[in-house]
């Protein structure tokens, strides 16, 4: 061992971003699922460009639809992530997704204590069809997961705004959208939030960016 550097972890501290999206049947209307697929790809590609010696974004992607929630991408360094394409179908088993998010964040093997606080991103256009209350309360109130930043988007009037206002870690983190176009805007907002943390001298302080104007979106 020739230098102090030989004793150091060579990877930057992980900054986990955990995304949970709705792929229930209702997302198939008015172009929402297509907009989500495009927005997710743009989101992943745009934060791939962020580079820092002090933090490395790790992404995990969950979805809920059909009869259950699934983990589609386990926690992975952003440079290695390939985004899936979703099809809309079935119910809205959001409670199952909350349980999976909780399990991931409590796992110190997957998210070691040297990691920065995770950001959870939730997007939905409907009301949970499974038992969501207890899993959500566990996620937001208990243990390690309660310390994550939580951002959410409610698309349309059918989304459970009351539930989502309780889910987010700050009122500014609840974004209300009316149309498919707003999904892309929301992910721009998430990108700005994550990249501000990456560039910050204090990545564990809450960063609330301005919502992007429509003009800043390049369709």
């Amino acid at each position: 061992m020739d230098s102090l550097n030989d004793f150091l972890i060579q990877k930057p501290r992980p900054l986990p971003v955990i995304v949970a999206v709705d792929r229930s049947g209702s997302m198939g209307t008015n172009g929402k699922i297509d907009a989500l697929n495009i927005a997710l790809k743009d989101f992943i590609n745009s934060i791939k460009d962020e580079d820092s010696n002090k933090a490395e974004i790790h992404i995990s992607l969950f979805s809920f639809g059909g009869e259950s929630a699934t983990c589609d991408i386990p926690l992975t360094p952003i440079s290695q992530v390939n985004t899936p394409t979703y099809q809309a179908q079935g119910r809205t088993p959001m409670g199952g997704a909350f349980t999976m998010l909780k399990e991931l964040i409590e796992d110190k093997i997957q998210i070691p204590s040297r990691s920065y606080k995770p950001t959870i991103v939730l997007l939905t256009d409907g009301i949970p069809t499974d038992d969501f209350l207890s899993p959500m309360n566990d996620l937001i109130n208990d243990g390690r997961s309660s310390k994550a930043f939580r951002i959410a988007m409610a698309i349309g009037d059918d989304a459970d705004h009351n539930m989502l206002s309780k889910f987010v870690s700050s009122p500014e983190y609840l974004v209300l959208g009316e149309s498919a176009r707003d999904i892309r805007k929301f992910f721009r907002f998430v990108t700005m939030s994550v990249t501000q943390r990456m560039k910050s001298q204090t990545p564990d302080m809450q960063q609330i960016p301005q919502m992007p104007d429509d003009e800043t979106l390049d369709f």
Binding site: F7, I9, R13, K54, S113, T202
Partner: protein, 235 residues
């Protein structure tokens, strides 16, 4: 027989807003009876945490000198916490502005005993007569999340008492350093420090250590970085 030791220490400020000072603090006290080394890491989110860190180190040193080894260790925990709280309350009504972690190693020279204490995520690793151990902060959830003095919760020092026969070496390091270390290599790091720094002129050791921290650790994170490494010398 006189206990001879070599001490190296360094503290560097993290890359942060220029108005914020280095909020780490190291203190070493030595007389015929004791060698007490203590390191505090004031929390960046508390505006007077450097003072809190300094007072924590002073409280540790004062209370260890008054501590009887025949007493229970939780008694020492209470005495340090009470002393720190009383000192803070004498200057401010807002204890949370002074939040700090602290770790210490106190060598009772005549008795050949060592007390190790830790509240929060300041790493302590020690090797006595060849047997290595380290205290990890298991309660830490994420980077820059830690239990501390002044949190408003009744959090306690983890304390342990050890005996040594002939030799010891130990490391105390704040999380700006400790979070970047490969834990399986910490014992070898002790050897690295001893081998490297015993060959450097005494007056230049701390500067050399500071250069190492600046070269290899400053780019890793924005935290302040402080450490002390001590080893006993053969008589």
């Amino acid at each position: 027989m006189e206990l001879k030791t070599t001490i190296i220490q360094a503290s560097i400020r993290g890359d942060k807003h220029e108005a914020i000072p280095n909020q780490d603090y190291i203190n070493v006290f030595e007389n015929d009876e004791f060698l007490i080394t203590t390191v505090s890491d004031g929390l960046g989110s508390s505006k007077n945490s450097l003072e809190g860190a300094q007072i924590a180190c002073k409280s540790v040193i004062d209370e260890i000198q008054n501590f009887q080894l025949s007493s229970e260790l939780p008694f020492l925990n209470n005495k340090i916490k009470e002393k720190w709280k009383k000192e803070i309350e004498s200057i401010s009504s807002s204890i949370s502005d002074y939040r700090t972690t602290n770790s210490f190693i106190a060598v009772f020279k005549k008795e050949k005993k060592i007390i190790v204490g830790q509240i929060g995520d300041v790493l302590v690793s020690l090797r006595m007569d060849g047997l290595f151990r380290y205290l990890e902060s298991t309660s830490k959830d994420f980077s820059n999340e830690t239990v501390c003095l002044g949190s408003g919760r009744d959090e306690n020092f983890k304390l342990a008492l050890f005996e040594f026969g002939h030799t010891f070496d130990f490391l105390i390091a704040t999380d700006g350093i400790a979070d970047e270390l490969q834990t399986e290599k910490i014992e070898t790091l002790h050897d690295y420090f001893k081998n490297k720094f015993q060959n450097i002129e005494a007056s230049k050791r701390n500067d050399a250590l500071k250069c190492d921290l600046e070269e290899f650790l400053n780019e890793k994170n924005n935290d302040d970085k402080s450490m002390i490494f001590i080893w006993s010398n053969k008589n």
